[in-house]
């Protein structure tokens, strides 16, 4: 079974991003949306965690949320895929289920 995890809170604000990563299984994916897109930026204190996670599962970040916050696509960690709303829909259908973290 594959699961799409979505997270919408900043990793600096609470531990949801880290909990999600620790509970995500290998054939699953994580999509960061809203304030959680901060997680995929280079040179933050979470960059190493994301880099290590990329060995185990796919990580996506929603482009409109990066753009809204002035976060440059050039500074997104390599290996993280930046997607739009249409690909968000595709991801939900490609996985068996979706877990929306609060």
């Amino acid at each position: 079974m594959s699961m799409l995890h979505t997270v919408n809170k900043s990793p600096f604000e609470n531990s949801t991003v880290l909990s999600c990563i620790s509970l995500c299984s290998k054939n699953s994916s994580i999509l960061f949306i809203e304030d959680a897109v901060i997680s995929v930026m280079k040179s933050t204190k979470f960059t190493d965690v994301i880099n290590n996670s990329l060995k185990d599962f796919k990580i996506y970040a929603l482009k409109p949320d990066l753009e809204a916050r002035g976060l440059s696509l050039d500074n997104v960690i390599e290996g993280v895929k930046v997607v739009g709303y249409e690909e968000f829909v595709d991801l939900t259908t490609e996985h068996d289920s979706v877990q929306s973290w609060l």
Binding site: E13, D35, T44, T47, P64, E67, S72
Partner: protein, 138 residues
Amino acid sequence: MSEQAIIKKFMYVNRKSPYGTIYALESLEVVLITAAFDQDVSLVFTDDGVYQLMKNQNTEGIGMKNFSATYSALGDYEVKKVYIDKESLEERGLSLSDLQELVWEDEDEDYAEKSLINLVSRSELSEIMNNQDVVLSF
């Protein structure tokens, strides 16, 4: 008897990223209102609050109003004390060059533009916070 205007020191502490919650916008509105009442206003950006001042915000994709340009009105409202937490920038891999410039015009010096932004350490911020009459958290 003449009425003496009461001026208090108000500090607004911004700790959240814009758009994910309404706090950033609400804070900005309250700050401008307080400043219009000739109060002594300080504005702090710490933790994820530093993202509020990021350059190149483009909210077309999320269908929300981009209010980042409104911060440039702070100088006109005589809000001249903007403090940015240095450690918060560093742990996010950011520097002042990632943030928009905020200036006020000094009419005593032929309207020279002067920066409102003060980059401060947590210990400096602690001292400034300690000297306020009212601290409001957003």
